[in-house]
């Protein structure tokens, strides 16, 4: 299964990269993923490798798992002992014997006192050496300038890459999961294909009420306390509640089969599943997302990246489900699904084994565009100062601080270009995928 999908992806990539635009977009996204994954090693004020008083360390690497690593060294000449805590040591001021700096030797929050107050990338930049202020060597220059406090903009952009990609990919994953599931089901059953006996419908509604009661009212204080603890714990508790709620309803609906004796209860009617899902997604689209995000952020008391992911993902599922449904409606007419039905396969098996692969490819194209959209939403939110915590530096937040100081064009242009290139390469990739996959049919 995994081997087959890898082969599938490989063949798609082979076709995508036939055009230079697709090739560049693909490689650029790979590059972004690389930057995002290794942001902590690419832009950090701790050296990658250092030799200091006969000790060899890899501070940037060891800080990945042990931030507050502390070493005690002894000066061979004076025998004076010195304690060095890696994350707060001022490596640039120390007398290092041998050192390899990270490509960008600046941390996100590491103000450079020599280049405060919006230093332009083309201005003279300074650094301290042996107590004197000299012009900065190339490695210590701020290639994208600094902000008011002297933080390096490039380091901020590199760490922002990780956040943007994380939010884009994970929220698209959530939207894809929910959207494909609901779109598939609503397209497959439509308004007339899902038959259920009256007893089942009545019992399902009763089960839903009872399940809701057990999930959200009996557990009210559990959920309430979870919100105090944190976002992920709340998510866990809420998902458990949702499982309890839906599960009770399903069990009750299943019990409907025991009411065989009464004729009216036994009667089967089509259940307008599609109508419900369509109207539901319409209502969902009509809710203003921005206000929901703010309200939830207020309820959760503290901002968190997880919350932003969850909300963007949850608000985007309607887009995916619309595509999946349209694709499913088309696939439903194909004869191989009829054949599968005739052979007596269960609905679940048909949906998973036969319908899903056909629907998945077009939805994949849509997901590419969705990632770009999510990145735009995320950066707009952080631009407004909503959603992502204040201490997390993102492209949007750099841009918004650049807005206060027009002279500091580098704080507008560079993060803006980062967003632009990321978004456009996802668009180009999506466009190429559309060309490649549609040609195949």
């Amino acid at each position: 299964m995994i081997k087959r999908s890898i082969q599938h992806i490989k063949s798609i990539w082979k076709n995508v990269k036939r055009k230079p635009s697709g090739r560049f977009a693909g490689y650029f996204i790979l590059f972004l993923v690389f930057v995002g994954l290794f942001a902590d090693l690419i832009a950090t004020d701790q050296p990658l490798f250092v030799k200091y008083k006969d000790s060899y360390w890899f501070p940037a690497f060891t800080s990945l798992w042990n931030e507050e690593r502390t070493e005690i060294v002894e000066d061979p000449a004076t025998k004076a002992k010195e304690t060095i805590q890696f994350d707060i040591a001022e490596w640039k001021k120390m007398d290092l014997e041998l050192v390899i700096w990270a490509p960008i030797p600046w941390a996100v929050e590491g103000p450079d006192i020599f280049n405060r107050d919006y230093t332009s990338p083309f201005d003279k930049q300074y650094s301290g050496k042996d107590g004197k202020v000299v012009e900065a060597p190339f490695i210590f220059r701020h290639h994208f300038g600094t902000n008011q406090r002297g933080n390096d903009v490039l380091a901020g952009i590199i760490h922002g890459t990780a956040i943007s990609l994380k939010i884009g990919l994970l929220s698209a994953f959530i939207a894809g999961l929910i959207g494909i599931l609901l779109g598939l089901v609503s397209g497959y059953y439509g308004d007339s294909q899902l038959y259920s006996s009256n007893a089942s419908v009545i019992l399902a509604i009763m089960g839903l009420i009872l399940g809701f009661f057990w999930a959200f009212i009996t557990r009210y204080y559990v959920l309430f306390d979870a919100m105090e603890i944190g976002f992920w714990f709340t998510t866990l508790q809420i998902s458990w509640s949702v499982i309890v709620c839906l599960g009770t309803s399903f069990i009750f609906a299943w019990c409907g089969r025991f009411f065989r004796n009464v004729k009216w209860l036994k009667n089967k009617n089509p259940f307008p599943l599609d109508m419900f899902i369509q109207r539901g997604s319409e209502v969902f689209e009509a809710l203003p997302k921005l206000l929901i995000i703010i309200t939830l952020a207020a309820i959760f008391k503290e901002k968190s990246v997880g919350l932003v992911i969850a909300i963007i993902g949850l608000s985007n599922w309607t887009v995916v489900s619309r595509f999946a449904r349209a694709e499913m409606l088309r696939t439903r007419e194909l004869s191989y699904l009829d054949a599968a039905k005739t052979m007596g396969f269960s609905d679940l098996r048909i949906l998973y084994n036969h319908a899903l692969p056909a629907v998945f490819t077009p939805v994949l194209i849509e997901l590419t565009f969705l990632i770009a959209g999510s990145i735009i939403i995320e950066s707009s939110l952080s631009f407004l100062g909503i959603g992502v915590p204040d201490e997390v530096v993102t492209w949007g937040s750099i841009l918004s601080s650049g807005r206060q100081q027009f002279d500091a064009w580098w704080m507008v242009v560079f993060p803006g270009l980062a967003i632009f290139f990321t978004v456009i390469s996802f668009y180009i990739l999506g466009e190429r995928l559309r060309e490649v996959l549609n040609k195949k049919e």
């Binding site: 009661f213 206000l291 707009s380 807005r403 507008v412």
Partner: protein, 492 residues
């Protein structure tokens, strides 16, 4: 077809109901107590200098006046462990602890008994402190005070661990100090009852549902229809008073909506004006040089987020260091502007302020509409009826503009429908960047100030406008295109 439209409108009503329900849930679950909020803002005015007792009384009166003592909805689903009686206890801060205890143990009478014992312990201690006959050493007075504070806090302690710790320290205080012998009896009773409660004698009650019908006297009903005295309810456009200045929400909104509406209408008009000819020519000469250029430009424009585009425009065209053509923010020059000017003069005054926002508004939708129009026109041009039209010798102009274009304009109805909420809500980002006093900026500011009545009004109206946009789009589609199958899902 009329049946379709009727059906569509009927489906519109439950959706609307769900949206109001969402807004209502947010309004009652919003953090912070609205009563306290209003009282605090009244106090900040300096009009009221009041003691704590007065504050409590005023808060209770306001609570009843605002209908917050009523049940939330037409019916309520509760656990069989009845927690309603606890609502009757005067001290609001004690409610949560007691409710939790009832929820856990299921036995309401035990919890009430415990509550009474703790209160009486507290009273005995207080009497002792106030009594002039007992000679209090400062040390003893401190212990007494401590015990009083602890018993008071005990009733506000939610978590089980902290409760146990508090109980232990009270027990040790009371048993170690001989002077506190008067409270010993009732405290002993209280701890015994608490032990009983913690055994959860009726644990099963919390798993039993209990549906209670509240009738029309509930908060939601009043929120929708008003209470008949001073509020009119949201259905008649009364969203209450803003927390910020106490003005009615509607009075605040209407002048702001004007700006958002003006911007949205202008930009939609402009974007159609630009993108329709571009889209037509690009589709007509598909893969020609014009198509290639316009495709790449729209692609790039579409990928520029509006906040980046807006700021770039500001940096380039409203910056004394670069090109200083347009004013950077606001909609008028406060020093020069005279509200008595004629409309034409006012518009001329506004115009330079609106150029950059309109460009920012427009460029994204131009890209989107062009792409949509192009793809649907290409689809139409490959149809058989176009070949027929050409075969019968019509000019190319007539073929494209009369036959193909008419059909390819259909998706534009959906786009127009989707733009309706924009006309009401404006764009938060663009209005914040250019400081336009429209709805977008208003939303942003009310969020910053946690002005919940405003947030809820926007929430509801935004939902209603979006749904209405969908409704109009669907009906318009059905009216224009007779081929629409109304029961398209029912094919067998």
């Amino acid at each position: 077809m009329w049946i379709y439209i009727l059906k569509r409108i009927l489906l519109f009503i439950p959706s609307l109901f769900i949206i109001t329900l969402f807004a209502f849930i947010i309004s009652i679950k919003a953090p912070g107590d609205p009563v306290q909020r209003i009282l605090n803002s009244a106090e900040n005015d300096g009009s009221q200098q009041s003691t704590k007792m007065d504050m409590n009384k005023a808060a209770n009166e306001l609570r009843i006046k605002m209908g917050l003592d009523l049940p939330a909805f037409y019916f309520s689903l509760e656990t069989a462990a009845d927690i309603d009686t606890i609502e009757l206890i005067n001290e609001n801060s004690h409610h949560e602890t007691l409710k939790r205890l009832v929820q856990e143990s299921g036995d309401q009478s035990l919890v009430l008994a415990w509550y009474n014992e703790v209160i009486s312990t507290n009273k005995i201690l207080k009497n002792q402190l106030a009594s002039p006959y007992i000679k209090n050493t400062p040390q003893f007075e401190e212990t007494l005070n401590n015990a009083i504070i602890l018993t008071g806090e005990l009733l506000q302690t939610v978590s089980k661990k902290q409760r146990a710790a508090k109980c232990d320290s009270i027990t040790s205080l009371i048993s170690l100090n001989a002077g506190l012998y008067e409270a010993r009896n009732s405290w002993k009773k209280a701890s015994l009852i608490l032990k009983e409660i913690e055994k959860q004698p009726k644990w099963y009650l919390k798993w039993l549902p209990h549906i209670h019908i509240n009738g029309l006297k509930n908060q939601y009903h009043k929120w929708l229809f008003g209470n008949g005295v001073d509020t009119k309810g949201i259905l008649r456009g009364d969203f209450g008073l803003s927390y910020r200045d106490g003005q009615p929400i509607m009075d605040r909104m209407i002048p702001k909506i004007k700006w958002s509406l003006a911007l949205a209408v202008l930009s939609v008009f402009l974007s159609f004006l630009i993108s329709v000819p571009v889209g037509i020519y690009a589709a007509y000469r598909n893969n020609g040089w014009f198509d290639m250029i316009s495709k790449n430009i729209t692609f790039v424009l579409y990928a520029i987020p509006s906040f980046f585009g807006g700021i770039l425009l500001l940096v380039l065209f409203a910056n004394p260091d670069m090109i200083d053509w347009f004013p950077a923010s606001g909609v008028k020059d406060a020093g020069n502007f005279d509200p008595n000017w004629s409309l034409g003069k006012r518009i001329l005054h506004y115009l330079p302020y609106l150029v950059l926002p309109i460009i920012t508004y427009t460029y994204g939708s131009v890209a989107f509409i062009t792409a949509q129009l192009k793809s649907s026109l290409i689809e139409q041009l490959s149809n058989d009826y176009i070949r027929t039209a050409r075969a019968k010798g019509l000019t190319e102009w007539k073929v494209v503009m009369k036959h193909a274009l008419r059909n390819s304009l259909l998706p534009m109805i959906t786009i127009l429908g989707n733009m309706l909420p924009l006309a009401f809500g404006g764009s938060v980002i663009i209005e914040t960047i250019f400081s336009i006093p429209g709805m977008g900026l208003e939303i942003y500011e009310s969020i910053q100030n946690l002005d919940y009545p405003m947030i809820i009004a926007v929430f509801t109206l935004f939902g209603v406008f979006t749904m209405t946009g969908y409704l109009f789009a669907d009906i318009g589609y059905a009216l224009v295109d007779p081929r629409i199958k109304f029961n398209r899902n029912n094919k067998k």
